[in-house]
């Protein structure tokens, strides 16, 4: 039928007109699709993407002070993992070294960040995560430098396992041993193969005595943890790693736990707080822990539990056996997020981010008595564009806020001094 109609119009001029008309129809269809794809108020024209791999386009930056006061900064930006050095407290940086390029496969989730540590001889260890397959299984890669971060080895996988490993958390001990913990999904994957379905992951860890070149056999600290939150880590006075993480307790309760990793293995799992957050959701919001010189655990975390909701702080003087009553960080009606702690001796610093609808603001408070009393929160910095989590880092006895912002640059601000 259509052919007949067309035949009847098969004069050259009519044919040309019709063909043009049909092409116009296709074009119109396409134009409608394009219009549809931009229907949210000319969204595409409003996009202001930062496309480079430099610090100015980074989504997360992690600092580490080397013994000679050099600052190492590792960051991820548009699929690239980079490291640079600063000898003037972050005012200027060396030409960045690109460690790896993974494009859209790099893990840039809101709780993901590269990890970097160094010994006093300039041996640098770096870890990050990328997604290795179409099922979004993740792989932790590590790279090393023996020249203070000027050059790095090719990244290699931390473990040989086909399932998923994510959210590395790295500490370096005074004896230069490296401790790494991460979220591991091999137990969940094995259960899945056996027909059982379970959400969540496990907390795994390993030590290295050769700067991260090789690691001892990995162990599980807790077989049931949230799979999408960072792990917090700190060393106690005996240089034992202490980790804090979002565990999955009986009944699917995703509350915070702490655990000491001794030379004998992982100590018992200690519940930081009974928040009663029963959820299958991914919070993307892990805790922070810092152990003071007295061995006191200081922990800060986020929860939406039935018993409390918001960002909270508690401490423990008995290695996590019991914790103080949680105290709220920030006001209840304010959007508080990303708490971070640093303890030096009996002094403790705490930072967090608040958003007031237009500006992200970083606050600091300080305790001189191991967390018993705290100063009034002080506003330290703000930005009106994208910003990373506020972090705390020390150069000897001097404490700095490390905060990456898109609009106002990378900020390293001195906020305290150990007395």
């Amino acid at each position: 039928m259509m052919f007949k109609i067309f035949t009847s119009l098969s004069r050259p001029l009519s044919l040309s007109t019709l063909l043009l008309g049909m092409l116009a129809t296709v074009g119109h269809t396409q134009a409608q699709m394009n219009h549809s794809s931009q229907m949210m108020g000319a969204t595409t024209s409003k996009l202001s993407a930062c496309l480079g791999s430099g610090l100015d386009c980074a989504n997360a930056a992690t600092p580490f002070f080397v013994a000679d006061d050099q600052l190492l900064l590792a960051w991820t930006a548009n699929g690239v993992v980079s490291v640079a050095q600063s000898s003037d407290l972050g005012k200027t940086f060396s030409i960045p070294v690109k460690i790896a390029e993974h494009g859209k496969s790099l893990d840039v989730g809101s709780d993901a960040r590269p990890q970097i540590v160094s010994d006093k001889y300039g041996k640098v260890f770096l870890a990050y995560t990328f997604f290795k397959d179409a099922n979004w299984n993740a792989q932790i890669n590590t790279a090393r430098s023996t020249d203070g971060g000027n050059t790095f080895s090719s990244p290699t996988s931390l473990v040989q396992d086909g399932s998923s490993q994510r959210f590395p958390s790295v500490l370096i001990r005074p004896d230069d041993a490296i401790f790494i913990s991460w979220i591991d999904k091999r137990l969940v994957a094995a259960l899945k193969q056996g027909g059982a379905k379970r959400l969540g992951g496990s907390i795994a860890y390993a030590f290295s005595n050769d700067g991260g070149k090789t690691f001892q056999a990995e162990h599980f600290a807790n077989e049931n943890s949230c799979e999408c939150c960072r792990i917090g880590g700190s060393l106690d006075p005996q240089a034992q790693p202490v980790i804090a993480y979002r565990a999955i307790f009986s009944g699917g309760i995703r509350d915070q736990a702490s655990q000491v990793i001794s030379t004998k293995g992982a100590a018992p799992i200690r519940r930081v707080s009974d928040d009663d957050w029963k959820t299958d959701a991914c919070p993307h919001h892990g805790p922070s822990i810092s152990v003071s010189g007295t061995g006191k655990f200081h922990v800060a975390w986020y929860t939406q539990g039935s018993k409390r909701s918001g960002v909270f702080y508690a401490n423990s003087s008995n290695q996590g056996l019991s914790y103080s009553k949680p105290s709220r960080i920030g006001a209840e009606d304010v959007n508080v997020s990303r708490p971070y702690l640093l303890a030096l001796g009996q002094q403790v610093w705490m930072t967090w981010k608040e958003f007031n609808g237009s500006r992200s603001m970083v606050y600091i408070k300080h305790s001189q008595d191991d967390g018993k009393t705290w100063s009034t929160p002080q506003w330290v910095s703000q930005t009106s564009s994208y910003s990373d989590h506020p972090l705390l880092v020390n150069q000897g006895n001097t404490v700095f806020l490390s905060w990456l912002t898109r609009q106002d640059g990378y900020q390293l601000i001195q906020i305290g001094q150990r007395q």
């Binding site: 949210m40 969204t43 409003k46 840039v108 997604f131 959400l199 991914c282 958003f355 609808g357 994208y386």
Partner: protein, 158 residues
């Protein structure tokens, strides 16, 4: 000439088919929320936020596909929040039979600034579903969805 014309028509037809079947993924960023929920026009609307890298989201997504197949008139918007390739989003959506749903993806960072206009108290947990009732009142549900409850809410409208 007739063969040429027929061939041309076939090509045109295939092009139209190709365009028609191409799944649309629309960008979403700061400032878009008010326009998005304006589309409710008195009908209940569910806006489901999910992420490609969020295991519970991926586990649940096919159930959304089944629900929408059973209830094709339900007003549901899907917004993907992870910074991943659009191809990978489309793969997940196709697996869940949601390739032709009303799909968006976040093009700005999924941070506190983007979430504030949606719900100032939302910290970004996924999956999260915002239910806008027929009166425009929003309720945030975090975690996996009970689809029987969702359907009851859709019928009631509030």
């Amino acid at each position: 000439m007739k063969k040429t014309v027929l061939a041309f028509m076939l090509i045109i037809g295939m092009l139209n088919l190709a365009f028609a079947e191409k799944p649309t993924l629309k960008p979403y960023q700061n400032g878009d929320w008010s326009n998005l929920i304006k589309t409710t026009k008195g009908s209940p609307l569910a806006i489901h936020f999910w992420g490609v890298t969020c295991p519970s989201c991926i586990k649940e997504l096919p159930h959304w596909g089944s629900y929408l197949k059973s209830h094709p008139n339900a007003k549901i918007v899907f917004i993907q929040v992870d910074d991943v390739s659009t191809e990978s989003m489309q793969i997940m959506l196709t697996k869940a039979n949601l390739q032709n749903a009303n799909n968006y993806y976040v093009v700005a960072p999924f941070d506190e600034r983007l979430r504030y206009e949606i719900d100032p108290k939302w910290h970004g947990e996924t999956p999260t579903t915002i239910l806008i009732d027929k009166n425009g009142k929003a309720t945030r549900k975090t975690g996996l969805t009970n689809f029987q409850e969702l359907q009851a809410w859709m019928i009631k409208g509030s």
